[in-house]
Symmetry: C2
Subunit: 312 residues, 2 copies
């Protein structure tokens, strides 16, 4: 959008040389006065973050001449998002997802956790999304997470080794949470037809760092489309689909939990994920296997974790 390059001025675009259009002559000290209202007992982090947020929001309004009516449309969309959200659904999170914000703060967080001076690579992270459940019960290695097998599903043997990203040492006792949707595109908590905890498992690596399970080959699905995030996607002329993926969370008390998603290299929407979560390192291959009684596909996925930094 070459016509909307942001400027860092407080007074909107156009001020300065020559005679700027009168409509950009908004009160030049207003933003500073709002920021200056912050009291002495605000925390340094709160002071920094809110000053920056206020400046960006005000610059956004001035640069685009946002009217009261347009602002109120935004207010109503956010109220709608809050009113749609509950313990099974987070529509404000989804609004952030469709503008790439969760993916961006995920990138920021994972780089901060590993540290600026690390000379090794951990497995890349991806967004948690709204469908994780903390209360998934533990499962034995090599068990199946499939409680309801849809007729159109392909079963995959997924396995790998979890290791220390810096040393390569396999790690025992690491929890590996795995969750995915069924072939109808719904996670079990969205779908009354699925048994509770269907397609979810919480595994623990053995002494060789091994984890293993049976799951299904994932399918693309649309993010919920009946709320403000769906409305925003329509207004932006965008589709709501996510490429086929499996969610993973891995960590323990010594290793920073990794939250990620792995994507089927053959899936549609790999190049245009509606929530911008795909990274090259997270694209995986489901390989045909024969002579295996429980699965027709194999997926090997090894995970490299960063040890937690000692607290300063």
């Amino acid at each position: 959008m070459s016509s909307t390059t942001p400027t860092p001025t407080t007074n909107g675009g156009g001020a300065g040389a020559g005679a700027p259009p009168k409509k950009h002559q908004y009160d030049p000290v207003f933003t500073d006065s709002v920021i200056a209202a912050t009291g002495p007992k605000a925390s340094p982090r709160m002071r920094q973050v809110m000053a920056s947020l206020i400046r960006h929001v005000h610059d956004f309004a001035r640069e685009n001449d946002i009217t009261v009516a347009e602002w109120m449309q935004g207010v109503e969309m956010l109220n709608w998002a809050g009113q749609m959200s509950n313990d099974r659904r987070n529509e404000t999170q989804l609004l952030c997802d469709v503008i790439g914000l969760e993916s961006l703060v995920d990138e920021i967080t994972s780089k901060l956790l590993v540290g600026a001076d690390a000379d090794y690579e951990t497995t890349k992270s991806a967004i948690l999304g709204p469908f994780f459940r903390k209360d998934t019960p533990p499962t034995e290695n090599d068990a199946s997470i499939i409680k309801n097998l849809p007729p159109d599903a392909e079963v995959a043997y997924m396995h790998g080794v979890v290791s220390d990203a810096a040393t390569g040492t396999p790690l025992a006792g690491v929890t590996v949470d795995v969750w995915q949707c069924s072939t109808n595109g719904l996670y079990e908590q969205q779908d009354p037809e699925q048994t509770e905890f269907n397609l979810r498992g919480k595994f623990t690596t053995d002494e060789n760092g091994y984890y293993g399970l049976y799951c299904i080959r994932p399918v693309p699905y649309p993010v919920p489309y009946d709320g403000p995030a769906g409305k925003l996607l329509q207004l932006l002329d965008r589709h709501p689909y996510r490429p086929a993926h499996i969610h993973i969370m891995a960590g323990n008390d010594k290793y920073t939990p990794l939250v990620t998603q792995i994507f089927d290299r053959k899936t549609q929407y790999l190049e245009n994920d509606s929530v911008f979560a795909v990274k090259d390192d997270l694209v995986v291959d489901f390989k045909p296997i024969t002579g295996h009684s429980k699965a027709s596909l194999e997926l090997e996925y090894n995970i490299r974790l960063a040890a937690m930094k000692p607290r300063a």
Copy 2:
């Protein structure tokens, strides 16, 4: 906040000259890729506004290294705001108010409505706030809007002339809506002890442009403090009070509706309104009057409206 000056770069601060800290080396094409996902059928306005919003939100996140945990605190605050909002309360609007956004879009809108080339001054606008009611019944001129008179109230005779800002001609048939809170700081819809439409009136100017009514001298009051806007004010170490004011909305089918507030020159909080709505032109004097049977104070307030521009 000298340490948080925004930069217009896509790659966060510090990229470019020398060796930037690794933690700022976030994906330099990510924001452009999110903006580029907008489809060809999005309206030009939507395309412009959302591209700018996405760029500002992403720059904000990168410049401040916003973590997933911090972002989720913001998401939860917005969900809370939506869940608290209903037809009597708009907490997302109030969140915007305490960061000055409603006051800013009000300034932008009023300047756009009058036009960049106007050589006259209209009465300044101020924010609508959440307490206006569209269904206030019409009232005869010189009637009282006081249905419940608190013992600590001072009664004022408020009157003035509405005129065309460009020509000075008095305007007949202009609707003048007036609303204010009682001396306990509550508007009638917030307070079960007040009669419906207490301290609200909808007047119409006579052939001389005159409107007149009896109201009370306004008092300062805190904005609602039990939700996310109150929480944000606490985190910013700020008070929730608004200076004493009376709301006015004036207009008709030929004159752009003016939304404003007038502030008592003697009120507390004139210099630090919690929602940043005070403008010098809107500060008024309540003058003692004697020998008047219904009021001890007089407030003269004349209003200058802009004629609607013919549609292009």
